[in-house]
Subunit: 254 residues, 4 copies
């Protein structure tokens, strides 16, 4: 009988893991991290091993087409892999207040420590407000010695500015206090729309880092649609089509 | 000496219950669930067995005509019945923040588990923004196997969309985690006014499900008043009476 | 080493009390209760016996003319008296959220129970939005049997409507759950300005109830000033002086 | 495995301290206290001895030029000194709600008690909304007996009014409850811009109090820039330059 006063992780599979690397892709700017992580899960047929419920998530349940509701949650998926299993963290939402984010992130790290996570990679978007050709991938690490080891995979350091809001930053920051090294990888993105193209760039770098092969074709179609949308936005911004971007377009943003 | 830091359930009657079915009808859209549950309590002469106080309810006490105040609260009522007693949950308010809803719902489920609740039925309205003839009753279950067993009572599945906010959803969602199966029954309603007619539809279905007979006549008068009000609203909306709906009408909404 | 996570009561005098009656007069509408309680403390030379600090009070300290700061707090004062000592609760502020009010009130009741409080009398204003001659005193009790016993002191029952917000209501409501009977006495007041005249009416009734004599003369001057202010407001409202009430007047309200 | 539900102090150096004096300079009005405390740390080559993390700080991590992120935090620095070491408290932010401020301040005082802090000096600005020549230094103490002992250092008592918001006030107020005497020193400042000149005045007084010598030259340049800015503001206010102060100027305020 546990009143849900705290974030609660329900383990579906209690099997041991092989020194896993945590890969986080919760909703954030351009949904870049979320798209990348969900693509990994689908392509690698990852298995759901735990569910995360939290009083800091909206007090709503979602109605599904099949007549069954489901709670809003975050989830851990597992992919057995060489020396280090991949533990992938995805979900519907992030908590919105500081106190809630610290609590949820703390509980996630508790689980990670228990499972022997050796390394943390968080995925996100880096909003520039501009369109770009091939999105670059920026990195921020928890410890200076890591910079060089990630540069060789094409990660760009020292060009991102400001702060990282939410789980992508806190997992690395709080992970450092618990002696778990980590990197936040950010795909360059406009920030004003969902960006699967940026997710593609991110995945290319990530796959090299964790030494895994993933078919990115299915992201191509989404990326092309996104690019069309981006060009339309740009055209509008340049006044070619006149008027402000339509509200229906912006409703696409999340 | 308990400072009220948490939701507190005060048991007025500690007698054992017969594998009860929880029926929830707290305030929500169109007050559909609340009207239905209160009607059940009145018609079945249900007995109050517990009171729920919470720091997440307004810090107010209500002044009654007889010179006695009472705190804002939720209440459990009991109706002894065949194989499964009915445990009916009603009250003045619902908590408003996510954290509060999760906490209150968790405490309610603690009590339900202690009392051996076997099944959860939550009652609510499903707002369509439209007037309708005979309101339909939509359902969302916690587990796919339940869909078929409820269809035979006229519950419609797969046509409701979006999310259920508050206790009607969370009791089912959090109940599922605690292995208590459940259904949320939603009476079709406009959403802009109190709707006893929708509550009537809801009760007709509910009575079949729990195999109980309840006189619905007393709801008839209220339902007819509500229908008049609805038609007036509709007329106004179609411009026949001109002007926007009067503010005094809308103050009727809660 | 106690970080101040909860409301904390610091006892300055741990002496036993004689089955005390709690009299509460924290800031509220028209400051009616606060003025009455502070007047009692001054006239009866009550002794401060405890201080209440709370993380739910503003995170500010007040600068005093003598160069010494003081924290924002609530206080208990004691007056030895016949069969029942008087324990008077006053202070700078009330907590503003529901959760905070329930917590603070719970801690106050813990202290009251420990000290053997037998009865609770809370003091407040009842806002009518109108000027009145001699303010009446309304009452709301925790238990119906108390109505008759208070009527003989001139307390009016059944004419106040709505809800009582804050400590004046919660102390009675939560006190009832802890088996401490109580009454909330409300002096009729306009609601738009500080009202010592209403406090005077309140004290007259209270003094009869607790069988004590208090010189009310010092309140007279304040009451007369308040009445002038009230008449000015009324005149303005009737347009005799033209224009809206000046902002400097309304800054008087608290 | 500690989820970060509370403010957490991570000690980097557990060495004993010599009955230290706490000197606090967190961000506040005109950044007066922060500039003064940071100047002390730089000039005295103080050593960082503890870091403070809190769920009440923003859920962000800061990206640094070198590609390494860092969490938002507060920090304690130590300067060994004669009879009383100096323990200097600085940081990026203060918590914004009452509950958070009380919790964070409580944890800081826990640490101070453990380290044997004998005295607390908090630094801040006292906003006047006016330009001034040489900023005066106002003081507010926790206990009346301290007034005379601080006057001889040029601290002005009895001229500051109102309340002190945040750590500068609460550390003294809550410290008093824990029997740690203290003073809040406030440099006179406009309030509308960062004011190193006021910090200079503050440091001159502070250095006399704690019997230490600090080179203030490096603050001179900043103070002169600040003065120019102040004069420009004043000129604008007097209409010499016309128009409202530019938004880019005001963005300087923090």
């Amino acid at each position: 009988m546990i009143p849900m006063l705290e974030t609660t992780i329900v383990e579906l599979d209690k099997a041991k893991m092989k020194s896993p690397i945590l890969i986080e892709g919760l909703p954030g700017i351009g949904l870049v991290g979320k798209i990348a992580a969900n693509h990994l899960i689908a392509e690698l047929k990852a298995k759901k091993v735990a569910e995360i419920y939290s009083p800091h998530f909206p007090h709503q349940v979602l109605m599904q087409k099949n007549g069954v509701m489901r709670m809003i949650k975050n989830k851990f998926y597992l992919v057995p892999h060489k020396k280090h299993d991949l533990l992938i963290l995805v979900g519907d939402v992030q908590a919105v207040t500081s106190e809630a984010q610290y609590e949820v992130t703390g509980k996630m790290l508790d689980y990670c420590q228990k499972k022997g996570v050796s390394n943390i990679i968080t995925l996100g978007g880096y909003g520039t407000g501009k369109m770009q050709g091939v999105p670059r991938v920026f990195g921020i690490v928890s410890n200076k010695v890591l910079v060089e080891s990630y540069k060789k995979y094409g990660v760009i350091f020292g060009e991102s500015r400001g702060s990282i809001i939410g789980a992508a930053g806190l997992l690395i920051g709080m992970g450092k206090i618990r002696k778990m090294p980590g990197i936040c990888l950010m795909g360059e993105t406009h920030g004003g729309f969902v960006d699967p193209k940026s997710a593609q760039s991110l995945l290319e770098v990530l796959c090299k880092i964790v030494e895994i092969k993933v078919d990115l074709k299915k992201l191509d179609k989404r990326a092309k649609d996104s690019e069309k949308f981006a060009k339309k936005l740009e055209a509008e911004a340049m006044g070619k089509m006149g008027g402000a971007p339509g509200k229906h377009d912006l409703s696409y943003i999340r």
